[in-house]
C-alpha cells in the first residue's frame, strides 16, 4: 500500500482551479483516487457538484479522459465505455493498455436518481469502479434532502420548523444495497482518511469486475461547518460509529477500524454542524437520544456481521 510520499511523487491527474467552495470535502477523493491508480484511467461523472465544479466550459480539472452524462446514467455510460474498450481491444483495433474505468456520482446521483443504472451496471458485471461521494444532500442545487440525508438534518426541502425537526426519515444504507448485488468488492470510507481511502482504491483496482466504494465527504455549505474542520468532521463520523470504515469482499464483511474506548458520543459530531443545531435546544433531548441509539444498534449489528465472517476465516 502506497505511502504519502509515493502518492505525492506522481503527476496530479486532478488539478486545482476548479470551483468547489473553499474547504470542500470531495476534491481529495478524486485527487487521491487518481494518485493511487497506476494504470491509465477514464472517468465518467454524473451531474453534481464535482462535475459542475471541475468541467465548466471551457475549463477542466481532469488530466484523464472525462465524460459527463446526466444524474441518472453515469454508471450506464461508464459500462458502455468499458464494453466498447473491451470490444476494440478484442478486435485488435486498439492495443490493450489495461485502462481502468471509474464512474462517480454524488449522493443525489447515486442513492436516488442514478440507482437503477448503477444497479444494472453492477449486475451486468462490467469491469469498473463506481465511487459515490456522499455529502448527504443535493448540495449543488441548494441543499435539498436526498436519500442520503441523515435523520433530523436541516435541508431546504425538509426544513426545521414547528412541525418538523428536519428530515424525518433514516439515511439509506447504500453499501448494503450494493452488497446485495453480489459484486466482488464493496467498501465504505471517508475523504478524511487518505490511507483507508487509497488502500481501498488499490484493492478495488486489483480486482477485475464491478466494484463500489461510498465515501463520506464534508460539505461546509450544507453541513454549516467551518471550512478548516472538513477533515476532522469525517474522522469524527467514524469515531462516533455513525460511519464505520469497512469493506465487503466476495460477500464477507471486514471492519477496517474499531474506535473501541475512543468511541465518541454522536452528539459531539452533530454539535459542530449547523444543520443539527436545533437538536441541542431544550426539549429535543429525545431526538438526540434516538439518533444515538440508532447509531449504536447499527454499529453492533455491523460488528456482529464482521465477527461472524472473521470466524469463518478470510476468503
Amino acid at each position: 500500500m502506497a505511502t504519502l510520499k509515493e502518492l505525492a511523487a506522481k503527476e496530479e491527474r486532478f488539478v486545482g482551479g476548479h470551483t468547489s467552495c473553499a474547504g470542500c470535502g470531495y476534491p481529495n477523493i478524486f485527487r487521491l483516487t487518481l494518485a493511487a491508480i497506476k494504470e491509465p484511467v477514464a472517468v465518467v461523472g454524473a451531474t453534481g457538484c464535482c462535475e459542475v465544479n471541475t468541467s465548466i466550459f471551457p475549463y477542466t480539472s481532469w488530466k484523464v479522459p472525462f465524460l459527463h452524462n446526466a444524474f441518472e446514467n453515469s454508471a450506464a455510460t461508464c459500462s458502455g465505455v468499458e464494453a466498447a474498450y473491451q470490444s476494440l481491444v478484442k478486435s485488435g483495433k486498439i492495443k490493450d493498455e489495461s485502462f481502468r474505468f471509474i464512474a462517480f456520482g454524488g449522493d443525489g446521483g447515486t442513492y436516488d436518481i442514478g440507482l437503477q443504472s448503477l444497479s444494472g451496471a453492477m449486475e451486468r458485471g462490467h469491469d469498473m469502479l463506481y465511487i459515490c461521494y456522499d455529502n448527504g444532500a443535493y448540495m449543488n442545487t441548494g441543499i435539498q434532502r436526498s436519500g442520503a440525508t441523515p435523520r433530523y438534518a436541516n435541508t431546504t426541502t425538509a426544513p426545521v420548523g414547528k412541525v418538523n425537526p428536519g428530515k424525518r426519515q433514516k439515511k439509506k444504507d447504500l453499501a448494503k444495497i450494493m452488497v446485495g448485488h453480489n459484486v466482488p468488492y464493496v467498501a465504505q470510507t471517508i475523504a478524511g482518511n487518505w490511507k483507508d481511502l487509497t488502500n481501498k482504491i488499490e484493492k478495488a483496482m486489483s480486482i477485475r469486475g464491478p466494484k463500489f466504494i461510498v465515501v463520506l465527504a464534508t460539505c461546509p455549505l450544507g453541513w454549516v461547518t467551518k471550512t478548516q474542520d472538513t477533515v476532522k468532521l469525517t474522522q469524527m463520523a467514524v469515531d462516533s460509529c455513525f460511519w464505520p470504515l469497512y469493506e465487503v469482499e466476495n460477500g464477507k464483511y471486514k471492519l477496517n477500524y474499531d474506535p473501541k474506548d475512543k468511541k465518541i458520543p454522536v452528539a459531539d459530531w452533530l454539535k459542530l454542524q449547523g444543520r443539527f443545531k436545533h437538536l441541542f435546544k431544550t426539549g429535543n433531548e429525545t431526538l438526540l437520544a434516538e439518533i444515538q441509539s440508532e447509531v449504536d444498534q447499527d454499529w453492533e449489528s455491523l460488528k456482529a456481521l464482521c465477527d461472524f465472517h472473521s470466524k469463518q476465516g478470510v476468503v
Binding site: 486545482g16 482551479g17 478548516q228
Partner: protein
C-alpha cells in the same frame, strides 16, 4: 477544430464552440485563479515543516507544491513540501488544521 481555452472571452457563438463540446486542454482549470477568493491565507514555515505531506493529502485545491530532492542522509531521492500555490489556494485553512500540532508549520493570516 481545436479550441484554445486561453482565448475564451466568455462570448462564444454556437459556431465557434469546439465540435461535440470537447474540452481540448487537460487540466485547463489552472487558468482560473481561484486564489483571489480567499480572506485568509496560509503562511508556511519551511524551517518547521517536516514534509510529512499531510497537508498535500487534504488540500482540496491541489495547492501544496511538491519537489523531488536528494536526501543527503539517505542518498535517496526524497519527496518534499515546496510551499503553497497561492494563485489557486482558497484559504480554507485545512492545511493548517491537519499539520501535526507539534510541528504547526502553517498558520492562517489575513489575506489583505
Amino acid at each position: 477544430m481545436s479550441f484554445d481555452p486561453q482565448k475564451y472571452t466568455g462570448a462564444l457563438t454556437v459556431g465557434e464552440l469546439p465540435e461535440g463540446g470537447i474540452w481540448t486542454e487537460p487540466g485547463s482549470s489552472l487558468m482560473r485563479k481561484t486564489g483571489d477568493w480567499k480572506t485568509l491565507k496560509p503562511v508556511w514555515d519551511k524551517n518547521k515543516c517536516i514534509s510529512c505531506l499531510t497537508c498535500w493529502a487534504y488540500c482540496p485545491d491541489s495547492c501544496i507544491k511538491i519537489e523531488k530532492a536528494l536526501n543527503e542522509k539517505t542518498g535517496k531521492e526524497d519527496v518534499k513540501n515546496a510551499g503553497i500555490d497561492l494563485e489557486h489556494c482558497k484559504g480554507c485553512g485545512i492545511c493548517a488544521a491537519v499539520c501535526p500540532p507539534k510541528v504547526a508549520a502553517i498558520t492562517m493570516e489575513k489575506a489583505r
